[in-house]
């Protein structure tokens, strides 16, 4: 996002707002427990969890608001919410 005069912007710039700065609790993904079921990717309201090259889910912390839905829904309790110090 830029300080454009009149608070203007071109279309399709929602990605410029790094809403991850709103986060209080940060999800930490524990690979050893993860079964790659994909539930976290489905329930993430931001759509910011995607699989890496080994098919393990990885959140994009630029946009993760720390809502905790992924941790709540994970069947194998492979996601822990940790208080984030800034």
């Amino acid at each position: 996002m830029a300080l454009n005069l009149g608070c203007t912007a071109k279309p399709g710039n929602a990605r410029d707002n790094k809403t991850g700065s709103w986060r209080v609790f940060k999800p930490e993904f524990i690979r050893e427990k993860c079964t790659q079921c994909g539930m976290c990717t489905i329930v993430c309201p931001e759509g910011c969890i995607s699989p890496d090259e080994d098919e393990f889910p990885v959140p994009d912390y630029d946009y993760c608001k720390g809502c905790g839905l992924c941790a709540e829904e994970c069947p194998s309790e492979a996601i822990e919410m940790k208080k984030e110090e800034k």
Partner: protein, 381 residues
Amino acid sequence: MEGSHAVARAVTMCRPQVIAAYPITPQTHIVEALAEIVANCELDADYITVESEFSALSACLGASAAGSRVYSATTSQGLALMFEVCFNVAGMRQPVVMSIVNRALGAPLSIWNDHQDSISLRDSGWMQFYAEDNQEATDLHYIAYKVAEDHRVLLPSFVCFDGFILSHTYEPVDMLNQEQADSYLPPFKPYHRLDADDPISFGLFASPDYYQEFRYENDQALRSAQDVVASCGREFGEMFGRDYSGLVEAYRLDDADTAIVAMGSLCGTVKDAIDELRDAGKKVGLLKIRSFRPFPAEEIKSALSGVSRVAVLDKNISLGSKGAACLEIRDALYGSQIPVLGYVLALGGRDVRKKDIAAIVDNAEKGRGDIFYGLREELLK
């Protein structure tokens, strides 16, 4: 000419392309006259009839963002209804010009003059110019457009003049002709505008990481508008003989002991009172504030540097505190040891006469200030 009709004619000369307004006393004659002017094809503008002041200013905001020069006018409760849109217009940096025919705010309901309406919008980011007479009220519209549309400013502007006292008074007004107006005020060149082929959104969301910087830039724009107001006012004077380069104007202030500070039509009465007080040997002068936003604190500080006391007349009151001009003058003079005495007066249209000015000077000399002047004690239990 009647003040309202003179303003309507001046606005016509400014060639607004979109006009949206809702009639309200004492502004009605302006928008009636403009409706007639547009209907008679004397002005090529879209005149949008709306169902409220909120819609009026919203229509102006949209039209301005689309790249049109726009005009509206309102007062009192109408301006109060525009409150939300006012902040949006300023934040989106749209150079809307709006006449404020100053009137008191209810309750109690009053159709008569004071400055509570526009003063209550002092934090909105709009420029605010106050006219002493109808000549100044008309001239300030050309200047307001020129300053507002300057790409160094890009802020909306109120042109404030007193309801009934000016709006409904007939006095001679020297009007520019269209050629003169066009030579002073070129066509509007938007900084950027709504365009379906090159889409853009205005007034977007800003997270806490950005909002404060937007507000800072808005504040900087209003502060730096001072120089543009001065240069546009000077240019008007060079072209048409009436100089508006000062954001404030001094009257017999050079050797004054007591300085009166006032805004709007009250200044005429104060000038006459000063002439009489000077004849009686009292050294009194006036500092008239023409531009309340931007607020020329440095200019005021230097204009008042030689006086022994300052009496500030406010046709408004921040309830629980003081009049707006009093607070700002006191701030401008902070550290100078010059006493600043505030007088809240003329609320809801109560008349102010020369003898009242003399009485206020008397109060100021005795150090009695920060009062409501002219209270009818018999009504207060």
